[in-house]
Amino acid sequence: MSNKQILIIDDDPDQRLSLRLPLESAGYIVHEAANTAQGLVAVKQVKPDLIILDVMMDTATAGFQLALDLHSPDPKSEYKEFRRTPIIMLTAIHSTTPLRFAPDEDYLPVEIFLEKPVEPEALLAKIKELLGE
């Protein structure tokens, strides 16, 4: 049993539940935040090993912005200790925004994109990979 901490930042409680169940059954300790602001507070409190982040929350790119803040290359960033914390971004492939997301390896080195709905097995596999288990 792993005792790694995972933070889910998603504004949909049902979506959070659907993520929590497989994670807990795999032995992870799961924390939740319902929006960007809560997420930033929780990050500092929980100091998660991995973050699952919904891209579309308050705005169409709120999650994206949060990931940029956490992974800021600025050495004075208040989140600099989370710069290497892996983030799994949940996206909808049929996004209504013209922005199409794709992993940009130069800019966001430790981010993985997963399409909704999430297959629990696929999610767990990705997490294992990211946490080096």
Partner: protein
């Protein structure tokens, strides 16, 4: 001073308008006549000198030599003066009155020279008397009838006075000696006869010449008038034609309005033109297009129907001609019109099928500028313009509606997506046993629910695609040259596993010889097109069948053919194949779930890329879908074609 159509232009007595072009033609005639007479006079002057010399030396007659030479010289001298004056007038483009004065001076001096010549060559006995007739002819050509007759009577008077003075011995007789044996100047009968015949000949000459001249002038005026009418008619016809072209050429409302005002002002040759349209309240007129008016004038204030009798009258369907705008009681802002320098206005109603829409108005600097023809013309432009404006407005409304509808569909679809997505996620946790174990029967039910949720998801996704495709062109993703082969190969790779699982052969043939094939589109559009076609082929082909994808080039077009050995399409289903939600009965039988939107989306996307799709099929044998896309030249390329990886690659 205002008047509506029936009484327009009957007030304010008009000066007969001399059209610039007509005046200039008559001017040109006078100017050329003056020059011509100056040329003739050189000959006349030299002629007098030569004749005098001949008379003296060859015929050995004795004339009043000094006087005759003097007259010849005087003619040449004053002709030189006239010549110089004329040259100066020509240089600085003098007004026509100067030429008229010059002509009168010429005739006056010619008359003086002529009577002197007659006197010194024997008065009533003189053989040169009849030379006066030339002068009369010239005067008749140069001047209007009345002036010509004046000069004729002056000639008769001069000759009569000279004859009488000689007859009564008041002045000495000055004959050419040796010409006549017996002097006749004192012979009353002879003198009366000569005067009588000269007078009648002079009057008849003047009469004939002026009549012919008057006739010619009238014809000329008619021709000038006609050609002027023709010119104006042509300009207006062009303007009407332009207005008609505007109706057809654009559906952009502001462009239609802007072209209408410019065309109208230019065709009528007036200072300005404007279009005001009724606002939503129907009580105010808002300027929507203006040509030639100052901002100050436009900012003069709102045009309220309640305060504006003119607007009310025009909107009731009348053409209103205001010949004296600053003093018109119909105007809401006469003072502002005065400051703007506008003296007359002509307004025509713009009437749509639901009643009056607004006013088309022409503004002129000159008072009383607009004629009944102008009224008819503006009415015609307004009729054409109303049509154009209405069409553009209708189009705008449809465009807005279409956009709103698409926006709505997108929003609704998005709102549908998230709960379905969450349902599917939650179902996965149950079927995956992450929320505790379930019985086999419960698991079966959960899986059925999950399948339905999956179908709902794909239906929503397709609807979203369809709605996205119908969004206004400007909002669509920018099309750019993309490599067709690369996109195709990516899709084929994606289906390799599912084809193998179903025991199908998925074949890929590139018949282009490997040259880059670029088409206008986006990688995403190409992906969706071929994803749909190939997944259909795999879905509807029974195991051990074959799916073949071929890329070929036909001139400037790329052809992608997706062929299968599947269930085929029944003939009666062919016409409905691309209809939204349509599914062929044999397809439904084979695959219960399917949205019937895939081919609709494919056709929509192919059309967006400027291509077309065709289908051939035989039931129980197979189907063949061919997508044809126009090829763009490589130098337009942004994305280079990828090297081929599949064909000939090991494994």
């Amino acid at each position: 001073m205002t008047a509506t159509r029936p009484t327009a232009n009957q007030e304010a007595p008009q000066k007969p308008r001399v059209h610039p072009q007509r005046r200039s033609l008559l001017e040109a005639e006078l100017v050329s006549s003056v020059a011509w007479i100056i040329k003739l006079r050189w000959i006349a002057g030299v002629g007098v000198l030569a004749a005098t010399w001949l008379v003296e030396n060859l015929f050995a007659l004795d004339a009043a030599e000094v006087s005759l030479f003097g007259i010849g010289a005087a003619i040449l001298i004053y002709n030189l003066v006239f010549y110089l004056v004329k040259r100066r007038l020509t240089r600085r483009v003098a007004p026509i009155s100067s030429y008229y004065a010059l002509a009168q001076w010429q005739v006056a001096l010619d008359w003086l020279a002529m009577i002197s010549l007659i006197y010194f060559s024997g008065g009533v006995e003189s053989p040169v008397i009849f030379f006066f007739l030339f002068h009369i002819i010239l005067a008749s050509i140069l001047f209007p009838t009345r002036t010509a007759f004046g000069f004729t009577f002056l000639a008769i008077l001069l000759l009569t006075v000279a004859a009488l003075l000689e007859y009564f011995g008041v002045v000495p007789h000055s004959p050419i000696r040796g010409f006549l044996q017996t002097p006749l100047y004192a012979n009353g009968l002879y003198v009366s006869a000569i005067l009588l015949f000269f007078s009648s000949t002079a009057i008849i000459t003047a009469y004939l010449t002026t009549s012919i001249q008057a006739n010619l002038r009238q014809r000329e005026e008619e021709v000038v008038e006609l050609s002027e009418n023709l010119r104006r008619a042509t300009v207006r016809l062009q303007a009407l034609n332009e207005a008609a072209r505007v109706v057809g050429s654009t559906l952009n409302l502001s462009q239609v309005l802007e072209r209408l005002v410019r065309t109208t002002a230019e065709a009528m040759g007036v200072r300005a033109c404007s279009i005001r349209l009724l606002d939503k309240s129907g009580r105010r007129l808002e300027p929507v297009a203006v040509y030639g008016l100052s901002q100050t004038y436009l900012n003069k204030g709102a045009v309220e129907l309640d305060a504006n009798p003119l607007a009310r009258e025009v909107l009731s369907g009348k053409i209103v001609n205001i010949p004296d705008a600053p003093n018109s009681p119909l105007l809401q802002y006469p003072e502002e019109a005065k400051q703007e320098g506008i003296s007359s206005m002509l307004s025509a109603p713009l009437i749509g099928k639901d009643g009056p829409m607004g006013i088309l108005r022409a503004y002129a600097v000159e008072p009383n500028r607009f004629t009944p023809e102008d009224e008819a013309f503006l009415a015609a432009i307004a009729a054409q313009g109303s049509l154009a404006i209405e069409n553009a407005m209708a189009y705008q409304a449809v465009e807005a509606l279409d956009q709103a509808k698409s926006q709505f569909v997108r929003m609704v679809t998005h709102e549908l997506r998230s709960p379905v997505s969450v349902i599917r996620s939650l179902m996965r946790t149950l079927t995956g046993g992450f929320a505790g174990s379930v019985t086999p029967q419960q698991k079966d039910i959960l899986e059925r629910v999950a399948r339905r949720a999956d179908f709902l998801q794909s239906l929503i996704d397709d609807l979203l695609d369809l709605a996205a495709g119908k969004i206004d062109v400007r909002e669509r993703e920018e099309l750019k040259p993309v490599a067709l082969r690369g996109a195709l190969e990516r899709v084929i790779r994606r289906f390799e596993v599912s084809a193998r699982e179903k025991d199908l052969r998925l074949e890929w043939f590139d018949q282009t010889g490997g040259q880059p094939i670029l088409v206008m589109g986006t990688a995403d559009i190409l992906d969706r097109i071929f994803n749909n076609l190939i997944s259909n082929a795999i879905k509807y082909t029974p195991p051990e069948g074959r799916v073949t994808v071929t890329l070929a080039r036909r001139d400037d077009e790329a052809q992608v053919t997706v062929e299968d050995t599947g269930i085929g399409i029944p003939e009666e289903s062919m016409p409905h194949l691309f209809e939204e939600f349509y599914r062929a009965p044999n397809a439904k039988e084979m695959e219960r779930e399917g949205t019937g939107l895939g081919l609709t989306i494919v056709k929509d996307l192919v059309t967006r890329m400027g291509g077309h799709i065709s289908v051939k099929s035989t039931q129980n044998v197979g189907s063949q879908f061919t997508v044809t896309l126009p090829i763009v030249q490589p130098y337009d390329a942004i994305e280079a074609d990828e090297p081929r990886r599949l064909e000939g690659a090991p494994g």
